[in-house]
Amino acid sequence: MTAHNASDLPRISDRLAKNALRNVSERIIEAILFAAAAVSVLTTIGIVYVLVSESIHFFAQVSIVDFLTDTQWTPLFDDAHFGIMVLVSGTLVSSFVALAVAIPMGTIIAIYLSEFANPKVREIAKPVLELLGGIPTIVFGYFALLIVTPVLQKIFPELPGFSLLSAGLVMGIMIVPYVASLSEDAMRAVPMSLREGAFAMGSTRLYTALHVVVPAAFSGLAASYILGISRAVGETMILAVAAGMQPNLTWNPMEPAATITSYIVQVALGDLPHGSIGYQTIFAAGLTLLLITLCFNILGQWLRRKFRENY
């Protein structure tokens, strides 16, 4: 019972007491890390502040009802109309076209890479595909205008030189790698044991992929789709170049139209005096854009929560 002599005792007890210095430094580090995490919140606050504070001036002059219901968007003209739906329609139609390409194509590529292709193909194809995301979008814009549009005009002779269709298609191609790469990650996170279970039942690869892997990875897939949607809604240069910048309330992808983003760059590049109502419209438009992406995001969060990975 004398393994430790008496003089040891208080020392050991001391050691067990909380070490104040260490505690303080841990707290400080935690505070610093928290501050870093909070930067993202500040960014959001900053974005909302900048958009709202300028938009307030705008809405002081234009009623929200007009903003939402007017069917013309001519803020810079003598006879000014501020019907945001015109831009929203262009944004939604072009995004829809893009997603009609990107979601199926991205998902198919993801399934193929994660369930069919051998690992070498995957290791090479994925980064190469991601290069698509690295091409400056202005290059895509000219690709749409100079190559895709003429090809499409062969198929649809009545297609005008600028259209949401060709801009949307190219935008879709641009988004494919985002969707494919994120979906593939989500599918590969599905544990092998589930796949083995399915194969042990005698299912084929495709059946396993569609009936077991995809449902299991659904929340990840949803996340990738949501990101794809935000990319489409927020894409600027392709639309500015190839979609025609014509404020046109239309739901027909075969027509040219302006989108929220293309309007914003147009004004940002233009000769408009700051402080004028025309200039404030870009903040109102930006706010609308933010709200649209926010809606999709909330939808996405909800989907994710509903289909949280349950394996």
């Binding site: 013309q72 968007w73 001519t74 803020p75 810079l76 003209f77 003598d78 006879d79 205008l145 100079l146 005008p160 030189g161 600028f162 500015a240 170049v241 025609g244 910048m245 014509q246 404020p247 046109n248 040219p256 302006a258 760059v265 147009q266 004004v267 590049l269 233009g270 000769d271 408009l272 005096p273 700051h274 402080g275 004028s276 025309g278 200039y279």
Partner: protein
């Protein structure tokens, strides 16, 4: 430090390049493109030394400058001729009058005038495809003022772009297209486009868009002077002063090179004289005017 209109940018850029070369890169010049409005905003906030402008300063901007204590000298540097262009395969359009263009472009035409024969019965029953400058550009403002008679008053259902190459593409691909943009873009793409002669309202003669016609003042109303504004305070800096002098001396050659139409040399000399005499202010009094000639401008008395 220079900022402002994209229309004036090529000229100023050329000058800046030559100037730096001449000074062996000892002096740094930056040229930005924020648009005439954006340029003036910075100019009147005392952020830039020179401002490129494709239109005269407005009353509001004059006030801003005054509030910030910024004084300036206005210097016309070149003509910009707006060119109305059509597809080279277009066979029926030989010329157009201002009135015809007005019928086509005025706000009342929106959604109504969709066929060529609605403008002129002699023209065919074919759809009109319109291309034009973005609504926040000086080009747009000037075109509407010159043609429709009221600045910014235009129909909205046309393909607008800040990027004039996009317009070039659009017009060159569609037989029924008509569009307008700066002369330089037409000059570089003569193979793909046809410039539409415009009937001079005074003489009644159709005038082709060309350097010579602009210079001799017969291409009206679609030619306009473009400007550089220099801050009086900055002229005390030797490098700014030198730059302005260099600008005026080499303007004739460089303006030609970037496919704009130079002013007569006398106008440049006149500008330099203004600088020497510190003749501050604008001669426009805050309003834009159409079809004004450089000789008229030189006669006017500038006001702040």
């Amino acid at each position: 430090k220079i900022d402002g209109s994209s229309t004036v940018y090529p000229i100023t850029e050329a000058v800046a390049e030559e100037f730096q070369k001449a000074k062996k890169n000892a002096i740094k010049v930056t040229v930005g493109i924020s648009g005439t409005g954006g340029g003036f905003k910075k100019f009147c906030r005392d952020e830039t030394d020179l401002s490129n402008a494709s239109r005269p300063i407005t009353a509001k901007e004059m006030e801003d400058c005054k509030a910030a204590g910024v004084e300036y000298i206005e210097m016309p540097v070149a003509y910009d001729a707006l060119t109305v262009v059509i597809n080279p395969k277009n066979s029926f359009l030989k010329q157009a009058t201002v009135d015809e263009l007005k019928t086509l472009w005025e706000p009342a035409a929106q959604g109504k005038v969709m066929k060529w024969n609605q403008v002129n019965p002699a023209w065919p029953d074919a759809p009109v495809k319109l291309f034009g400058a973005g609504a926040d550009s000086g080009t747009f403002e000037y075109f509407t003022e010159a043609i429709v008679g009221k600045a910014k008053s235009s129909r909205g259902d046309y393909t607008a772009s800040e990027d004039d190459n996009v317009l070039v593409q659009g017009v060159s691909r569609d037989v029924n297209a008509i569009g307008y943009f700066g002369y330089a873009y037409y000059a570089e793409n003569m193979a793909r486009l046809k410039g539409l002669p415009i009937v001079n309202p005074k003489t009644g003669k159709a005038v082709e868009p060309s350097g010579a016609n602009v210079e001799n003042g017969s291409y009206v109303p679609l030619s306009r002077p473009i400007f550089v504004y220099v801050k009086v305070k900055s002229l005390q800096k030797p490098e700014v002063k030198e730059f302005v002098e260099f600008y005026m001396k080499s303007a004739d050659k460089l303006v030609r090179e970037v496919k704009y139409v130079p002013l007569p040399q006398s106008a440049y000399d006149f500008n330099l004289k203004h600088v020497k005499d510190m003749k501050k202010g604008t001669v426009f009094g805050g309003k834009n005017e159409v079809g004004i000639t450089i000789e008229e401008l030189m006669k006017r008395e500038a006001k702040l």
